[in-house]
Subunit: 465 residues, 2 copies
C-alpha cells in the first residue's frame, strides 16, 4: 500500500476484534498488511489480551519480530507468557540487546531464568553481561551492535568490514576505532570514510578525541552528554577504556521523557506511576497517591497543634483567623515556585549541591522582593475594606501592618525552604523531586502559622489581644 | 593530546582569563588545543564577555565554526555583535540551517535583516524559507542537509551520489527516495544500500511505507513521533508530500527537555524562564514569578472573604478554625496530585480532551477512596486527642464527624478540580500546565472553606453553634 503508514483508528481495531471472534484468519492477515511495525504495536495493544496473542501469531515471523520491539513492556510480558518456547526463543534471539534487557529486567526472576535458557549461548552471554549492570545505569541501555575498525586498516578495508558486519549495527553514522585489547581510540564519522581515498589509513584520519559514556554511570548522565554533544549515538566503555557497546539517542529520548514524567509526578506529590495514567489500575493509582497524601496529612495535623497554642488569640481576635489561609498559602506558593525552579535546574545539571550559597542568596533577594509586593497588596486589602465596608474596627491599621509583615516573612521563608529542600534531599542521597509542592507547602504552613501569630501577639497585644 | 576530551575545570578558565589580560596569545592558542568543540563552548561561556570574543578569534576559522554551533543562543548573540561582518558572514554561511534558524529568530528584527544580507543567495533562500514557519513548528527544526535519491537509480548510483553529496548530510543512516517533483516515496536505510548488489534498482528495494513529519506541525508532535518510531532522523514534507528537509533526534531531545522544563515551571506556578536558573538575572526571575504570585494572592483573598461569612461560627467555635488549614490543604494536595498526573499524561499524548469522562470517573473513585482514608485519619486525630488530652469538650464526636465528612468532600472536590482543570484549559486553547499546583490549591481552598463551614453549621447547630 503506497504512502505514509496509516495509524490505527478505533473502528479498525473493533473490526479486527470481530474477525478474531469469527476466526476469519485469512481476512485478518490481509488487513494487517497496512500497518507498519509501530502502528501494528498500537493495534495489538488496543486489542483484548486473547485477541492480541491470536493476531500476533498471524503476523508472520519477520513482521512479528519487527513489531515486538515496539510493544510496551506490559504487552511483551503478556505475549511471552502466551507464546510457546520455540516462538519465544526466536523472538528473544532476534531482539536488539538493549530492548531485550529492558524486557528481562521487567519479568519475575524465575521467568527471566527460563527465558535465558532459550537464548543461544552467544546471546545468553550478551544478556547476562547487560543484566549485570545496575538498574538505571547506562549499561542497561547499551547494545553491542556497533561496528569497530582497527587503526592500522585502510578506509577501504574499513568500508568492506562495514558491508559485512554492518547489517546489525544500530547506527552507520559512526564507526569506532579500537586499539589492542579493544581499547577505544577514536570515533570516525562514516561520511569521512566515504569521502577519502580508499587507500588512506585509518591512522591518518583520527585525532584521538572522542566522547564516551561509562557503563556504570546513571542514565540521567547520558541525557546530559547527548544534549551537550548533539550526537545520534555514543560509545560506552568499561573502566579500562575498552568499548563494550553503544547507546543510541532514541533510547536516551525515552529516558529523558521518563525522568521528566517521574519528576513531574513527584513534584505533584505522587509516587512515580511507571505506567500510563489511563492504563494503570485504579487500585494502583490510589496506592501511589495514598502514601504521600497520608504522610502530608500527618504533617498537616501539626497545623492544628500549632494553632492550638494560639486559641486564646483567635478567640479574642477572630479577624486573625480570617487572614490565615491567605498568608500561609502565599508562603506555600512562593515555595512551590522555588522548588520547581531548583529541582528542574538540578535535573538538567545546571545547578548542584555546591551552588547552595548562590541559590540561597538569590532566593533571599527574590523572597524579599516578592514578599514586599504581596505585603503591600495585603496592606491595601485591609485598608480598602476598612474604608469601603468599615471592617476591622479601630485596630485596622495594626492588623494591616501585622498582615503585611507576616507576608514578607512567610514568602521569604517559603522561597528559602522551597529552594534549599531539594538541595538538602540531594545531599542526603534522596531524589530532589521529592521536595514536592505539597511537601514544601506543609512545612511552610506550620511555620507560617507560628510566624503570623507570633507577630500578631507582638503587634496587637494591648489593642486587640 | 590522546584520550577522551577533557571537560574544562574552573582553574583552566581562570588561567585563560589571566593569559587574555596579559595578551599572551601564543600561550592561549596552545592551551585551546585540548578542548573539543562542546567543551570549548563551555570554556567560552565561562569567560567574561570581552575575553570570550578574544579567545573565540584565536580559535582559527575551522574550530571557531565547529565551536560556534555548541554555544548557547545568548553567547552566539554576544559574539555576532562583537565580530566584524566578514567573520559573521563566514560563520552564518557554514552553520547548519536548523541552528542558524534558532539564532536568527532569537535576534532583534533589524539584526536579523542585517545578517540575512551577509548570507550567500542560496543560504539566504534557505534561511528565509525556514524563518517563514511559525515559531515552535517543526519547520524551525529542519535542516535541508539530507541525501535524496531517485527511484529509477541503482544502489550503486545511489552510493556514488552519497559519496559526492553526503558531505553535508546530517545523517547517513537513511537516504530518501523521491519521485517526480520531489515527492517523498520512501526512506531507505544506508545499511540496505551497502548490503545489496550494486546493480539492484532502488525501485526493487522500496515498500513505499514511511513516516514523515509535517513542517507546520507543532514541535511537541515530533517528540511523540520520534518516541513511537525509534528513529534517529525523520523526513519533513510540505502539504503536497514534497520532502523539504529532515529533523534529527538530537534536536528533538532538546525540544523534549525544554517542553518538560516549561511544564515543570508552569506546574510550580512560574512563567517559563526560558533561561537557566543561575544565569537569568534576578530581576527577570522576580518578574516571572510575580505575575502568578500576585494573581494567586488576589484569588486567595477570596478565602478571607469566604471566612468572613462564617465569622460568627468561628467566634463561637474556635476549634473549627484550628482544623481549617488541615482540611483545605488536604484538598489542595489531592488536587495537586491529579493535576500533575493529568497534565503530564496530556503532554505525552496519552490522554486528550475527549477522555474527560473517563478521567472524571477515575478521579471520582480515587477521590472517594483517598478522601475516605483521610477522613478516617481525621476522625482518629480528634478521638485520640479527646481521650489523651481531654480536648474538644462534649461535642468532640460531632466535631470529629464534621471533620471526617469535610475531608471526604474536599479531597473528592480537589481530585476532580485538579484533573479536569488541565482538560478545560486545553479545550479553551490554553496550556494545560497552567493548571499549576498553586492555582488548583487556590480554587480548592476557597471552596473547601465553604464546604467545611457549611457542613459544620449543618452538623453543629444546636450544640456548639
Amino acid at each position: 500500500m503506497p504512502g505514509p503508514e496509516t495509524a490505527a483508528a478505533p473502528e479498525q481495531v473493533a473490526e479486527l476484534e470481530r474477525l478474531v471472534a469469527e476466526r476469519r484468519f485469512d481476512q485478518i492477515h490481509q488487513r494487517l498488511g497496512q500497518f507498519g511495525p509501530p502502528d501494528m504495536a498500537d493495534v495489538l495493544e488496543a486489542l483484548p489480551n486473547e485477541a492480541e496473542a491470536v493476531v500476533f501469531r498471524l503476523l508472520g515471523r519477520e513482521r512479528a519480530l519487527d513489531t515486538f520491539e515496539y510493544l510496551t513492556l506490559a504487552s511483551q510480558e503478556r505475549l511471552i507468557k502466551a507464546l510457546g518456547d520455540r516462538e519465544v526463543a526466536g523472538i528473544l534471539n532476534e531482539m536488539s540487546a538493549d530492548d531485550r534487557t529492558a524486557l528481562l529486567e521487567e519479568l519475575p526472576g524465575e521467568v527471566t531464568r527460563r527465558l535465558m535458557n532459550l537464548l543461544t549461548p552467544a546471546e545468553r552471554d550478551v544478556a547476562t553481561r547487560l543484566l549485570n549492570y545496575p538498574e538505571e545505569s547506562i549499561g542497561r541501555l547499551m547494545t553491542p551492535d556497533y561496528v569497530a575498525v582497527k587503526r592500522q586498516w585502510t578506509a577501504g578495508q574499513a568500508l568492506d568490514h562495514v558491508r559485512v558486519y554492518g547489517r546489525d549495527s544500530e547506527t552507520l553514522n559512526v564507526v569506532y576505532v579500537t586499539g589492542p585489547g579493544g581499547v577505544l581510540i577514536d570515533d570516525l564519522r562514516m561520511r569521512e570514510l566515504l569521502l577519502v581515498d580508499p587507500s588512506t589509513r585509518i591512522d591518518q584520519m583520527i585525532d584521538e578525541q572522542f566522547v564516551a559514556l561509562h557503563a556504570s554511570d546513571d542514565q540521567e548522565a547520558a541525557v546530559a552528554v547527548f544534549r551537550k554533544h548533539d550526537r545520534s549515538a555514543l560509545p560506552v566503555v568499561d573502566s579500562d577504556g575498552v568499548i563494550i557497546g553503544i547507546v543510541t539517542v532514541d533510547d536516551v529520548l525515552d529516558v529523558a521523557e521518563e525522568e521528566a514524567t517521574e519528576d513531574i509526578q513527584m513534584l505533584g506529590g505522587v509516587e512515580a506511576l511507571e505506567e500510563p495514567y489511563l492504563s494503570i489500575s485504579l487500585g494502583r493509582v490510589i496506592r501511589k497517591r495514598a502514601f504521600w497524601l497520608v504522610l502530608l496529612f500527618l504533617g498537616q495535623t501539626l497545623t492544628a497543634t500549632a494553632m492550638g497554642f494560639f486559641e486564646a488569640e483567635i478567640a479574642s481576635a477572630v479577624v486573625l483567623a480570617l487572614f490565615l489561609p491567605l498568608i500561609i498559602s502565599s508562603g506555600g506558593n512562593s515555595g512551590s515556585q522555588a522548588a520547581a525552579l531548583v529541582t528542574r535546574a538540578m535535573a538538567l545539571g545546571e545547578v548542584g549541591v555546591r551552588d547552595w550559597l548562590h541559590i540561597m542568596r538569590r532566593e533571599l533577594g527574590a523572597g524579599l522582593a516578592l514578599g514586599g509586593l504581596l505585603g503591600l497588596l495585603g496592606f491595601l486589602r485591609v485598608a480598602i475594606w476598612r474604608f469601603a465596608f468599615d471592617s476591622y474596627g479601630d485596630a485596622w491599621l495594626l492588623i494591616a501592618v501585622t498582615i503585611a509583615i507576616s507576608l514578607v516573612g512567610v514568602v521569604l521563608w517559603g522561597s528559602l525552604t522551597g529552594s534549599l529542600l531539594p538541595i538538602l534531599l540531594k545531599r542526603m542521597g534522596a531524589d530532589p523531586a521529592a521536595s514536592s509542592t505539597p511537601f514544601v507547602a506543609t512545612i511552610v504552613d506550620v511555620t507560617g502559622i507560628v510566624i503570623f501569630f507570633a507577630l500578631a501577639k507582638l503587634i496587637l497585644t494591648g489593642t486587640l489581644l
